[in-house]
């Protein structure tokens, strides 16, 4: 994973209003559940613009904000903070299955 030493690589995220699901804003101005489709801002100024776009598209989401990410050579992005990595990829343990009776 490439470094993001400046902290300038950012994506816009929010939780979807109807169900709280984590979403990111894509290049078309749509909210997507797929981080790899998120629009990336590459400097501070474009970050501000991305956030304004996200806020303008906030009818169906809650409180958009910017997330610092890193990008590798293949263009894959990953949030820098553990909190945002967990938001992006879900629980870090196996939640109990709905029909679970035994763990063993």
């Amino acid at each position: 994973m490439a470094k993001n030493l400046s902290g300038d690589l950012q994506v816009a995220s929010a939780n979807r209003l109807a169900d709280g699901v984590v979403v990111w804003l894509d290049d078309a101005g749509e909210w997507t559940t797929r981080l790899e489709r998120a629009a990336i801002s590459r400097d501070r100024r474009s970050g501000e613009i991305l956030l304004r776009r996200a806020e303008a598209e906030a009818f169906a989401v809650i409180d958009p904000f910017l997330v610092a990410v890193a990008e590798d050579d293949d263009g894959m992005i990953e949030p820098l903070s553990l909190r945002e990595r967990i938001r992006a990829s879900g629980l870090t343990f196996d939640a109990i299955a709905a029909d679970a009776v035994r763990y063993a």
Binding site: D19, A98, V101, A104
Partner: protein, 557 residues
């Protein structure tokens, strides 16, 4: 089976809860239609127990004073299956959290709750929260009086109390009716301890200003003995003083514990008594008829006579070591001869503490119907209690719980870990709790080893808000975030049981996540090396102090 032995909603309760559900349904509709902003809607959803967490909405359902009927538990299972992902998390405040609720489904979930006399009111916000009580209430051999009678009276008084809906900060009340406090009353905003004075009268010790969180404090006695019928008037006076003088300028100094700390308990007492002079003869005096009417609903079940010593139980105890251990750790004395209180451990080795699937909830409800008068309790230690089990039914209950994965003989042992949801779910957390608990639990899974170690309580919080009660863990673990890295502070010597309330002391620098198990192992090994016969971990710690534990821990990690 009917909810025979505790409070049932009357028309007033039913109307109030029903109206709130419909009101919220309209609020959700308006939010989804864009007629309400999130800023406008957020306090409304929080008033109905609906939080937004990392991945989804979370519905926190109040389980009043931790008491559930089998019918209610089945409904919780049904709601979790229909509106969530088929499991729930029992919390350290005797509530149930569903972690994947959709906003548009929340009104239907609340309507379903109302069908069984339940709701999610006052599980959030700066109000008087769901009142908690001893999880052995109504069954414990050492009980002076059933605390749920008083918890229900407080619930009725505090529900939508107009004067106390916007307090400086949230307000938590716990009640115990036993001299052996199991409700952690000294670490609540107000703790109430029922006791009998020299004249044989039963009244309350009123304890104020306890709490955990950022600034942990042990509560102080505000009134040594309060006649029972004066409870509401005295609480009203105390809340008024807090509402008047509690700090609203600083979120971190807004709890009543800070007020008591800043003005001193003597001044607090004087102010409350002055206020009380004006409230004691008002409408809040409790008539004996009112008390009796509530108490009647908590009348003990009519338990048929059953043998206190059962040959088959004794034989199984000799032949099945795990059953014998289970009897020692998970079965407590009942006030009726021939009966016992069984704790179903929601802490199987390696499992998320306090989680239960819909199938497991239904299974426990079935066991409650067959063997425990249809009654259950939820403990603040995140287990389920079967309060009225005949001794001769213990093998059958053990087997039935075993089929559900809830017969681990570990209650009070090192794997009976309290853990908050942590950073996997919680928007406030700084670090994960559940995976840490799972690793410790897996490491110490051997029952023989756990019972050799003896009573040892580990409590884990993912942030300083301390929902995992780490301050009062014999071993407390607090997750912190240092420059994006999860670290865990270890504290030792906390306690909350049986009136021996103490706050733990941080032993040294925080350790990384991959070293937590080794750190706990080092602490336990130190204890095993130096303990006296029969000495609990926390008593050894008090005897020898932190240094031996500290030396071994930091040599290891």
């Amino acid at each position: 089976m009917p909810d025979a032995h505790f409070y049932r909603y009357d028309d007033y309760d039913r109307t109030l809860v029903g109206e709130r559900v419909e009101q919220f349904r309209d609020q959700v509709r308006r939010r989804l239609a864009g007629e309400l902003t999130e800023e406008q809607f957020k306090p409304l959803r929080l008033h109905n127990g609906l939080y937004l967490q990392l991945h989804a909405y979370m519905l926190r359902i109040a389980i009043p004073y931790g008491t559930l009927s089998s019918r209610q538990l089945r409904k919780l299972a049904d709601i979790s299956r229909k509106y969530d992902r088929g499991y729930g998390h029992f919390t350290t405040r005797q509530n149930l959290q569903l972690n994947w609720i959709r906003l548009e489904d929340a009104p239907d979930a609340l309507a379903a709750l109302a069908e069984v006399d339940m709701h999610a009111l006052q599980t959030s916000g700066n109000c008087i929260r769901n009142v908690t009580a001893d999880h052995f209430a109504g069954a414990a051999a050492d009980e002076i009086e059933d605390p749920r009678i008083w918890a229900e009276i407080v619930r009725q008084w505090s529900t939508l109390h107009p004067e106390f809906t916007y307090l400086p900060r949230k307000f938590k009340i716990a009640i115990t009716g036993s001299p052996n406090d199991r409700a952690a009353v000294r670490v609540h905003d107000i703790g109430l301890r029922l006791w009998r004075n020299d004249e044989g009268e039963v009244g309350f010790e009123v304890i104020v200003g306890g709490g955990l969180g950022r600034t942990p404090m042990i509560g102080k006695t505000l009134r040594a003995f309060l006649p029972r019928n004066e409870l509401l008037a005295y609480l009203e006076a105390t809340l008024r003083v807090y509402n008047r003088y509690g700090r609203r300028d600083n979120l971190y100094k807004a709890r009543i514990k800070i007020l008591v700390h800043e003005v001193g308990v003597e001044r607090m007492r004087a102010d409350v008594e002055a206020e009380y002079a004006g409230t004691r003869d008002g409408l809040l005096g409790l008539s004996s008829e009112t008390i009796e009417a509530i108490a009647h609903q908590f009348a003990p079940p009519d338990l048929p006579s059953r043998p206190a010593v059962v040959g088959a139980v004794e034989a199984l105890k000799l032949g099945d070591r795990d059953f014998a251990l289970w009897l020692k750790s998970n079965v407590a004395s009942h006030r009726a001869s021939g009966y016992a209180i069984v704790t179903a451990s929601l802490k199987p080795a390696g499992a998320p503490p306090g989680d239960a699937s819909a199938v497991q909830m239904e299974g426990v409800a079935d066991i409650a119907d067959t063997y425990s008068q249809g009654e259950l309790r939820v403990s603040h230690e995140q287990n389920l209690i079967l309060p009225h089990v005949a001794v001769e039914d213990l093998p059958a209950v053990y087997a039935a719980l075993g089929r559900l994965g809830f017969a681990e003989a570990n209650v009070g042992k090192i794997t009976d870990i309290i853990a908050c949801p942590g950073l996997d779910y919680c928007a406030l957390a700084n670090a994960r709790s559940i995976p840490v608990a799972q690793r410790i639990s897996s490491h110490f899974a051997s029952l023989a080893r756990q019972h050799d170690i003896g009573d040892l309580k580990i409590k884990i919080s993912g942030c300083i808000n301390a929902c995992g009660h780490h301050h009062v863990g014999h071993i407390g673990i607090l997750g912190v975030d240092r420059n994006g890295v999860e670290l865990y502070q270890i504290s030792l010597g906390g306690d909350v049981d049986f009136g021996r309330t103490a706050l733990g002391t941080i032993i040294g620098p925080a350790v990384t996540a991959d070293k937590v198990v080794e750190a706990v192992d080092a602490v336990v090994a130190t204890y095993l090396d130096v303990r006296n016969d029969g000495e609990r971990f926390v008593d050894t710690y008090r005897r020898i102090g932190a240094q031996p534990f500290k030396e071994r821990l930091y040599e290891t990690v």
